[in-house]
Symmetry: C2
Subunit: 352 residues, 2 copies
């Protein structure tokens, strides 16, 4: 009878501001039934990403909100344990929309088979997955950095920011990373090869950022918003480009310094500096650009020109804590949850 | 001796918020001396434009601020009264950076000769001048409207907004104009042919705007900011484009409703709707696109497919009042000052 049940984490309540542990519920439920032509999956790793915070609110966004009592959504790496789909066999490793679950029944749509011999499978949730593609697409298609320009990015030790900086460096840009804490800054500078790394928790952060950008900023890859944006704004050069892929600083609602976060100064800079600000989600570009991304970045990873780092938590039941920590910046690298206890044998941990 | 003097209006004090009459000074000064290879001009018409408000502040912008005691800057239509330049003869009519002056000595740079037979000379400061080019460049190069899309623009009876809507209509778009007061709205709808015109002074303006845009807004041409932007924001469609050429609502500093003008909602929409917001000034595109603009819009004006309207004040000494009125939206059409008393004989007034 134990095979007939699984575990999942559902949205128990809608958070007001920061999520709390009570907004999630870990529950046992019946094993899902394989759909005709679909596959049954045993989840090995779950990816935790900032966008999930948006799904917890009852507001229209680029995806519909999670319903109360529904499993939290998310991408996972999983093993096929039963298949009704000709392209997938039992034992295959795939990336799929599994949700925060130990098992999932999915159709073949949106499924991608992984070759564990090519790269550690967990990279398919990070540098070679959606976070990596977000970095690649936002930087190359919107930021369009030119050799000699300055590219700045926040959350620079995270899965998106770290690739933004490394790709910009390959393009010949001066790269300035912003991260929280000395360890992350050291990693960004020494391991990832950014030209400078600035700690946004330091008191004189805006001044330090300014010193690190003597020629201003030509591309600011926006994934945090809030106080970091306020520090970046005056440094932007004429015709600077601002791809906007995330605003983690405002996902939990107004912060203490909301008073300073007025619209007018931003609009004024957009106008007077002929800035381009463009929001995007990776799905906007997937069809046209994903294959090229996989080719380019896989090669760079294989050659050691692009490095990445993972922050793995064990046990699905610990996903809420890991998620809440990530929203506070307490993670160090791509946040993953090891869902199946023997997953470690299939993966190489921490490519950095 | 009377030929040896001229009049000008200088910046007397930097305004705090709204400019007052005391921030300007009308003064008599010596007639300027013609520069070698330059021309001496007698100003016929002066153009008043919202951007001039920015120059009155001591803040870095796309142009440097006016110094205290210096003549207010601006473009004018003028008659050449002495010439040391082979391309310009006495009696020629030109567009030039004259400033708020009755006479000016300028080099040949940036001067453009007008043919009064082709179009009323004052159109060179409006629909066939920088305001027209701003509309054309922002709409076609940033907004990129497609047939069937909805294009909205504020200050729709003004020189920029009116052309934005008329060009969008020619492209096959639904055009929604926003203007202040019933007369302007009637003009926008009945004379300019917009599909709808909404009065932003009406109490239920956001609801009316929403009703006028049943399919949302694909291009919002931003030239005012403030409360109008707040009403537009929720109506923007996925992948909407927002050319930003002006923010007249915030030029005089924070308004009453500043509390509502927080950055976070704007950034959230930029992100979740994959919006493109791009600031520009006409100079960004002049070199590459001005000739094409002049061809296209001159032809449309000649055929009566594009109409325009002027709001003319007599006498340079009245320029400050006209300027302050424009910042409050009290003008109705392109604001011009007739500087020379016999200028009327050279121009046809109000093409609408």
């Amino acid at each position: 009878m134990s095979e007939a049940t699984m575990h999942q984490i559902v949205l128990a309540a809608r958070p007001h501001g920061r999520p709390s542990i009570n907004d999630f519920r870990f529950e046992k439920t019946a094993m899902p039934v394989m759909l005709p032509g679909g596959v049954l999956l045993r989840v090995l790793y779950l990816s935790l990403d900032p966008y999930m915070r948006g799904r917890m609110d009852d507001m229209k966004s680029y995806a519909k909100p999670v319903s109360l009592g529904e499993a939290m959504p998310g991408r996972g790496i999983a093993e096929v344990i039963a298949s009704g789909h000709p392209a997938y066999a039992v034992g295959d490793t795939v990336v799929a929309q599994t949700g925060w679950r130990t098992h999932a029944a999915v159709t073949g749509e949106g499924l991608r088979k992984l070759d564990p011999a090519l790269a550690p499978i967990t990279t398919a949730l990070g540098v070679l997955g959606m976070p990596g593609f977000t970095a690649y697409a936002g930087l190359t298609l919107i930021g369009k950095p030119r050799c000699g320009e300055t590219v700045a990015v926040a959350a620079a030790s995270g899965p998106v920011g770290s690739l933004v900086g490394q790709l910009a460096k390959i393009t010949g840009c001066r790269t300035v990373g912003i991260a929280g804490g000395a360890d992350k800054c050291r990693y960004v500078r020494d391991e990832l090869g950014f030209d400078a790394a600035i700690d946004h928790r330091e008191h004189c952060f805006p001044e330090q950022l300014k010193r690190a950008c003597p020629d201003g900023i030509d591309v600011y890859f926006e994934n945090v918003g809030g106080a970091v944006w306020q520090a970046v704004l005056p440094l932007l050069n004429q015709f600077a480009r601002v791809p906007v892929c995330g605003l983690i600083a405002q996902y939990n609602g107004p912060g203490d310094s909301e008073e300073a976060h007025r619209l007018a100064p931003t609009m004024r800079e957009v106008l007077t500096k002929s800035l381009t600000m463009r929001g995007f989600i990776s799905a906007d570009f997937v069809e046209e650009h994903y294959p090229q991304f996989l080719r380019v970045v896989s090669a760079a990873v294989a050659k050691g020109r692009v490095r990445s780092r993972e922050d793995i938590t064990d046990g699905l039941e610990n996903a809420p804590q890991a998620f809440m920590g990530m929203l506070e910046g307490r993670n160090f690298g791509k946040v993953l949850v090891r869902v199946a206890s023997d997953a470690g044998t299939l993966s190489t941990r921490n490519g950095a």
